[in-house]
Amino acid sequence: MLPLREQRELLITTIADLLDGVRHVAVGASSPIPAAGAMLLRARNEACGKAAVRISILGSAQHNFFTNGTIEIFDCAAQGRIDAFFLGGGQIDGSGNINLVGTGGYPQSQVRWPGSFGSAYLYHLVPRVILFRTEHSPRVLVPKVDFVSAAATTPEVPRRGGPHALLTNMALFAFDRGRARFGLRSVHPGFSATDVSDNTGFDYDTPDIVPATPAPDTATLDLLRGRILDELAETYPAFANSMAEAA
């Protein structure tokens, strides 16, 4: 397994790759790794003259393009003005559904998480939702969530939004919306395809040859350890510090 800094750099780089082509990515509060991925994409696009990337970070003054209160990010998504967003989940199932509510009965859940936030809405409306959850275990990645906070696919109703990929500490999965099923795309350095199957509670497709998730190249590392850390420091000072200290 990689050291913590390298693990994070791999995740950040993978997220930047997953975001390739988006114009506007929104990032929830307390999401430094997704924010860093979006910042890396923005920096890369600038360097090679590609389209500018707008990053909205909830709770950041500098990355706030909104002036109409809490509702604006949701309206903006409904208008098709947000291309990518991140969701997690106490549970994520093999059909891409997520559970942010709890397990062990409802409403008196024995394990209760905070609640669904905007997931039930944004999952329908944001074209490229990246499921990001560092813990890769059978208790998180389950066959069927106990409570569907947000459904990944709804054949009965047209929608532009839904899961694009699932990224954990161990692997990257792509999501096939037609089949409502994940496919393993790559395994992070230090883990094997068997580690992944041992720790995943749901069925998924596995290619004959499972590639390793590519590590960031030197140019990317330079950005990550320089400009991106500086940009992160505004919104996530503690995280930026811990990354710098790990150097």
Binding site: A78, Q108, R112, S116, F117, G118, F147, V148, S149
Partner: protein, 270 residues
């Protein structure tokens, strides 16, 4: 017309059993302490659209009979301990929602219509636990299934803001959900860092940041009234204090000790 009153008088305007809308930013923590000191019970909390310390405080103080929310969490400091415990115990009526649905319900009340359509949501189990929500076929416009949610008209909206003027106009900046709460609510109570002598509605630019006094029943002065939470341009979250709360409130006794010290401290400041 808006009255300018003491924090105690402001808190005394809430009655047991009322529904109370509370926001994510501009949280009236000092007023919440004053409210808990009145011994209030049976509140129906409406979190707009989520809550953190404020809901956990009121729940821990046994002031809450019902809660409608999209989430309760202490954010970086982890789960909200009194909320989590109360859910497990079934200590209140729990109504789970999703952020834009709470805002849509308030918008319906703002517009005097019984319901509001909202995008997304279809497929979520929220529809199973919300018999008051429905999926209908759009009666006009593009034909497709759409979720409809009922109006939410809180008895009282309560928030904290940087400034009010003597007429009761309140500066809310970009935080227009605070205006949305006030439009929808029957009564609105506001605490502020300071009361200014000039008219906040005077210029086009300053007016744009204002909730007009028309919607504000009472204003009370409460310097650092959001502490330990942040107030946008004014002060940051006291993360050490939130972490201290998160640790102490794991048990009911720890929560009681924290709350008691918090109330004492507020009385000493006041």
């Amino acid at each position: 017309m808006t009255e300018i009153v003491s924090l105690e008088a402001l808190a005394a305007r809430m009655a047991p059993g009322q529904s109370l809308a509370i926001p994510v930013t501009g949280v009236a923590m000092a007023a919440t302490a004053a409210l808990i000191e009145t011994g209030i019970t049976g509140l129906k909390l409406i979190c707009v659209p989520t809550s953190s310390l404020q809901a956990d405080f009121l729940i821990g103080a046994k002031a809450v009979a019902a809660i409608e929310t999209s989430a309760v969490s202490l954010g970086e400091a982890g789960s909200a301990p009194r909320f989590t415990a109360a859910v497990r115990e079934g200590a209140f009526a729990l109504t789970d929602s999703t952020c834009p649905a709470i805002l849509a319900g308030l918008l319906a009340a703002q517009k005097g219509v019984p319901f509001m359509p909202i995008a997304g949501i279809i497929g979520s189990d929220l529809l199973k636990v919300r018999p008051d929500w429905k999926v209908i076929d759009s009666p006009v416009g593009e034909q497709r299934p759409v979720v409809v949610v009922p109006a939410i008209a809180p008895d009282v909206a309560l928030f904290h803001a940087p400034e009010a003027d003597r007429a009761g106009n309140v500066k809310i900046g970009r935080h227009r959900e605070l205006a949305g709460m006030a439009y929808a609510a029957k009564h609105t109570l506001v605490t502020v860092e300071r009361i200014v002598d000039h008219n906040l509605m005077e210029t086009e630019d300053s007016a744009a940041a204002v909730l007009p006094s028309l919607y504000v029943d009472a204003v009370a002065l409460a310097p650092r009234g959001a502490w330990p939470l942040s107030l946008w341009d004014e002060y940051e979250t006291d993360t050490a204090e939130i972490a201290r709360y998160a640790a102490m409130a794991r048990s009911d006794e720890g929560f009681r000790a924290y709350l008691s010290a918090f109330l004492t401290r507020r009385r000493e400041v006041a």
